[in-house]
Symmetry: C2
Subunit: 382 residues, 2 copies
């Protein structure tokens, strides 16, 4: 018996696709890759991160280090991403060396840099909250309060975002020394997300628009489709994907204001938390369509299987042993689709999600919430 | 950057489940395991077999070697299987050493040994073709022709099976020196398969009965559910799983005779080719329910998403580069669910399958057949 010989590129079996970043998005891409017969090579942050647990052909390295990136993409013609944090200059270098980055750096910059995104969307006439570059408390006073301050780069899941109701709320943001933009604090009725997949050729498929609920800046709950959603959201996502030349999945997160306007909140150019429902609820999951898009394969249909799909994130809570809790959750409701990410539980960390599909929204919602609650708290009593 | 450190058991992360055998069934179990958050350790026949491509924690070894088996199951409390070929005495040894084999050797023997299976089913009063142990051409003459000769052990996909219409057809079988049984050559109208999943506690869920079509002893096509299928098939599968104390998936392959009787053809105690449709067509795939059953988790619902699901196997043909052909198939019909097994194409070898779901049987069937044809022949013209 010999031990397994994985790790570095295997002779004779080139990777079909390099994926940078070993989080749960890369992990769920692997489920789709297994079906399609796509061999993924992963650049993982550590030997046992979420996606490294399920992708044999991985190298451990730092995505901010160009040499590590080069090793990981080696013989892969196409490169895609679990997150938006690879430095743009490294992406340019990899492209220059003959690898197709999908999405390409010229598109990805609008998911990496919020100022660039606001400038470009404003140019395109896409509806945005009122915004401005702010370099000082004086600039912010001119912009007016309340406002939201955001670092232009590197923020996610509520990090790098400050709601400023009075001047002192901005101290931390300015003290960070990072470039900032201010945005109008939108009085929204709800948040929507419009997702599309786009091929290099320009073909686009759109998923049903969904409604998402955030708690402390972190996505908690998604209802697909969003009840009474405006078609304009889907049209806007299609248009943005085309104008920005996105390849792969694009999520356009939107505010729906109380007076019925749609405003673009964020862009993500990868599979997105608001599309996880599609694994269990749609004819083609966002992960499969992401792979199909970046590999320039024809895109799959996005029709839901059932009238309603509800996804609820499992955020790290009182329960430490999620595997043990799995049997409790499934005993309560064997029809819940469980997705665990192989991560150590930490307070508030996304460690998994559940999806429930059904014909009745209230029932579907309460089943999904109850399952996530059981995973977080251990019980739903009291 | 360090290379990946997989292979032997990782310190601190015990495998949730050991799987013996690295074929496509283990590969598809991994898709379900990723969702459930189950860590699989695989015993693979080679470093790049189908499932070893997608399961990092694998050891390469020989499933007929007890030491290799011991290394693979190491810290895994539960052991399950991609195939039925592990020697019964090794299974008994592993069980004695504290690992739960699921299915257990006392059940699995009825999927390993056709004589034991016929004796036990006869005892239970389960309907079987007329059969007898035959040790010589004289025994076979007494049994009567035409007949089917089968080796009691080690046959699969038409191997170890001889249709005997005249005495000379039996020469190869008797020359093999292997123990044989003779069975009546059943004049069947069609073949059905009834699948159930069963937990150690005895809970059972049944999948819809499907119709399967074999070509040269190899499964080619499955329609789920079988049109006008008898409920008796499902009842029989439930009963056999309980009487034989099967844990995990059980497939009961059945002949439906022209006069409407059901006769048991074969038993398989693992996910089965006749259940692949469930990945794309059912609320819970057979692979997820196999994992749930062997890990003693509550079983998932088996309802189909659509009125019809059709699965057609891709058997090795003229097309060598299946990955390249994938774009041709999806361009013709982007709604086809493609499953490639990462295997080298050889004539007649199962290298993948396609599933199509729909509302109209004829259309669903012709779409699935056309996709499989394109994967095998490169075109469907002429």
């Amino acid at each position: 018996m010999s031990s397994a010989d994985q790790g570095r590129p295997r002779p004779g079996t080139p990777a079909g696709l390099a994926v940078i970043g070993g989080g749960q998005l890369a992990r769920m891409m692997q489920q789709a890759a297994i079906g399609l017969g796509v061999r993924i090579r992963l650049l993982a942050e550590g030997p046992d991160v979420s996606a490294a647990q399920v992708i044999p052909d991985h190298v451990v390295g730092d995505y901010t280090d160009l040499d590590d990136l080069r090793t990981a993409v080696a013989d892969a013609a196409v490169v895609t991403f679990d997150h938006e944090h690879v430095p743009p200059e490294h992406l340019a270098a990899i492209e220059a060396e003959g690898h197709a980055c999908r999405p390409g750096p010229h598109a990805l910059i609008y998911a990496q840099d919020k100022r660039a995104m606001r400038e470009r969307l404003t140019e395109l006439g896409a509806p945005c909250p009122r915004w401005a570059v702010v370099e000082s408390p004086g600039d912010l006073a001119d912009f007016g309060l309340p406002a939201v301050l955001k670092t232009t780069r590197g923020g996610y899941d509520g990090k790098g975002v400050w709601v400023v109701r009075e001047p002192a709320d901005a101290d931390e943001a300015f003290a960070s020394g990072r470039p900032l933009i201010a945005e109008e604090l939108v009085d929204f009725r709800r948040e929507l997300s419009a997702q599309v997949a786009r091929r290099p050729s320009g073909d686009v498929v759109a998923y049903p628009v969904v409604e998402s609920t955030q708690v402390d800046g972190v996505c908690k709950e998604v209802v697909a489709p969003a009840p009474d959603h405006p078609d304009a959201a889907q049209d806007l996502a299609r248009r943005i994907s085309t104008e920005l030349d996105v390849v792969g999945m694009l999520a356009v997160e939107l505010f729906e204001t109380r007076d019925g306007r749609l405003l673009v909140n964020e862009l993500a150019m990868r599979p997105h938390n608001t599309g996880h429902w599609s694994i269990d609820g749609s004819a083609t999951s966002q992960f499969e369509n992401h792979l199909r898009a970046v590999l320039d394969l024809p895109l799959g249909p996005t029709d839901p299987h059932h009238p309603w799909s509800v996804m609820v994130n499992i955020l790290g809570g009182a329960v430490e042993d999620l595997a043990a809790q799995r049997s409790v959750v499934l005993a309560e409701d064997p029809g819940v689709h469980v997705h665990l990410y192989g991560k150590t539980v930490k307070a508030g960390r996304k460690v998994g999600h559940v999806t429930v599909v059904g014909d009745d929204l209230d029932e579907t919602l309460s089943r999904a919430r109850r399952a996530a609650d059981l995973f977080e708290k251990g019980s739903t009593d009291g």
